[in-house]
Amino acid sequence: MLLLSVAALFLIPLLWMISSSLKPDYAIFAVPPQLIPNPPRWANYPEAMTFVPFGRYTLNTLLISAVSIVGNLISCTVIAYAFARLRAPGRDALFLVLLATMMLPYPVTMVPLYVLFNALGWINTFLPLTVPTFFGSALYIFLLRQFFLTLPTDLEDAARIDGANTARIIWHVILPLSRPALATVAIFTFQATWNDFLAPLIYLQNPQNYTVTLGLQFFRTSYTTSWAYLMAASLITMLPVVLVFLLAQRLFIEGIALTGLKG
C-alpha cells in the first residue's frame, strides 16, 4: 500500500549507501551499477572505523549530546512555559527577538564567538558546545511554546486555585502532558549535536577531543575522497541517533493524557 511504496522510495538511497560501503572504491561508480557487491568487502568497516579513532570521537560526541539534552530540557521547558502562559510587558516583542536569533547565519558570528570563548579560556574544551544550551536554545523554546499553547488551561487553572506556584505547575501539570514534545526536543538535540560540524571544527583543537562529524571529514581531502569508508563510517555513526529515536518512539505511541480531560 501507500506506506510500503513510500517507505521503499525512502529506502533506496539508503540501500545504495550500504551497498557502496561494502565495495572497494573503484567499484562504487561502475556502470552499470551493481546493487549487491560481489564479493562484499566487510573489511571496509573496521578499516573505516580505525581510519581515525572513531571510538573516542563517539564517546566525545555522546558526552556533548547528553549534556546538551539535559541543558535544553531544563532551560527550554521553563522559558517556553513563561512565553506561553505568563503575561508580562514586552513578552511578545521578546518572542520576536527569540525568532530573530535563529536567523543570523553562523559563519558570521563564528569569529566574534571564537574570540569570546578564547578570552574565557574555553577553546579546546567541550564548554562552548554545551554551556549555551543551559541558557536555552531558540528553536526548542519556540517548539515547546507552540506545544504548550495547545494544552487547554483547565488543569493549570485548577492547580493555581489550589495555590500552586509556577514551579509546581510546570513539574506536576505541564511535564506529564508534554512527553511527546519533550521527547522531540531530546531527539532533535541529540541529532543536532551529533551532526554539528562548524562549532566543533573551530572550538576543538586537540584531535583527542574531536567529534564524530569531524571524524567523517577526514575521508575527504582536497583532491580525493575515500567513498567506501565514508559510506561505512556514516552508516555506523548514524546508528546511535537511530537507536535514540527508536527508543523515544514509545513516548509517541503512548500518546498524551490530554484526552483524559473530557472524561
Binding site: 506506506l3 513510500v6 517507505a7 525512502f10 533506496i12 538511497p13 539508503l14 545504495w16 549507501m17 561508480f29 552499470p32 551499477p33 532551560s75 521553563v78 513563561a82 506561553a84 503575561r87 508580562a88 510587558p89 520576536l96 525568532l99 530573530a100 536569533t101 535563529m102 536567523m103 543570523l104 547565519p105 558570521v108 558570528t109 569569529v111 566574534p112 569570546l116 549555551p132 543551559f134 541558557f135 536555552g136 517548539l143 507552540q146 506545544f147 504548550f148 499553547l149 495547545t150 494544552l151 511527546p180 521527547a183 522531540t184 531527539i187 532533535f188 541529532q191 551532526n195 567523517l216 565514508l230 556514516s234 537511530v242 518512539q249 509517541f252 505511541i253 500518546g255 484526552t259 473530557k262
Partner: protein, 297 residues
Amino acid sequence: MARLSATRREALTFYLCISPWLVGLLLFVLGPMVVSLGISFTRWDLLTPPRFVGIRNYERMLNDPLFWQSLKVTALYTLLYVPTELVGGLALALLMNQRVPGIAVFRTIFYLPSVISGVAFVVVWMWIFHPEAGLLNLALAQVGITGPRWLTDPRTALSALWLMSLWGLGRTAVIYLAGLKGVPKELHEAAVIDGATSWQAFRHITIPLLTPTIFFNLILSLIATFQTFTSAFVATNGGPLDATLFYVLYLYRQAFERFSMGYASALAWVLFVIILSLTLLVVRSADRWVYYEGARR
C-alpha cells in the same frame, strides 16, 4: 513591603523564568551580532586588523551581480521547498500516524535520512543524479525518458537539490507527528459519527488544531531554506554557472575563501533583515489563521 499585585508577580515570574535565556542572549547572541555589525563596516581579511570603510560594503552589494544572483537562487529554492515541505511533511506524518503493526520501523525509515550526516547525505544523491550511471536516470530510461543532466545542467541543478532535500522530510514529519498526537481522536470520531466524511473531519478539525505546528514548521522552513549551505557546497559548489549559488554559500566564500570578512558580515546582516521581515509577516498573519486551544492570554 507592599504586597505585589498579581499582575506584577506574574510579570516578575516571567522575567525570572526567562532570565537564563536573556543572559545567554546578551553573551552568545547580541554581543557577537553587534560585533559582526561593526565588522560589516570594515574591510577585514582575518589576517590583518580590520579597516574602517563605512557603508562601502553595502554599496558594493547593490552593484554585485552575484549578490542578486544568490538572492534569486535562494528565493526560487524557498518557493520550491517550503510548500512541498509543509504539505509533504504532513502527508508523511499521517502515514506515520497509523496504528499498524511495525509502524515503529516505518517511522524510523522515514526519519533515518534526516539523521545522516551532511556530506554523506549529499554524496549519495550526487551519485543518484549521475547523468549516465545514476539510479534516477536509469529508472527514467526504463520508462523511455532520457533524463536531464541534473547537477551539471544549469537549468536542472536547483531542482535536483530540491529533490534531494525531500529525502529529509522525516524531520518535519516527526514534528507534525507530535502535533497530531495532540489532536484528540474523539473529536475526529465524533465528527464522523455526525456524518462528516473523513476528509471533512480532517479539514475542519484536525488541521485547525494543527495550525500551531504548521506555524512552527513554516517559520522553521523559512529560516532553514534561507540558510541552505551544505548541499550546495558539496554537490555543486554554487555551479554550474552559479545556478545554485545559495546566499550563505556566497557569504561563506567571501568570508573564508575571498578574505572579505567585512563584506560577508554585511551580507549576513542583509540576510538577517530579510528573514526577519518575512518572519514578521508570517507572525502577524498568524493571528488570523493559527488557532490555539489553550488560548493565548
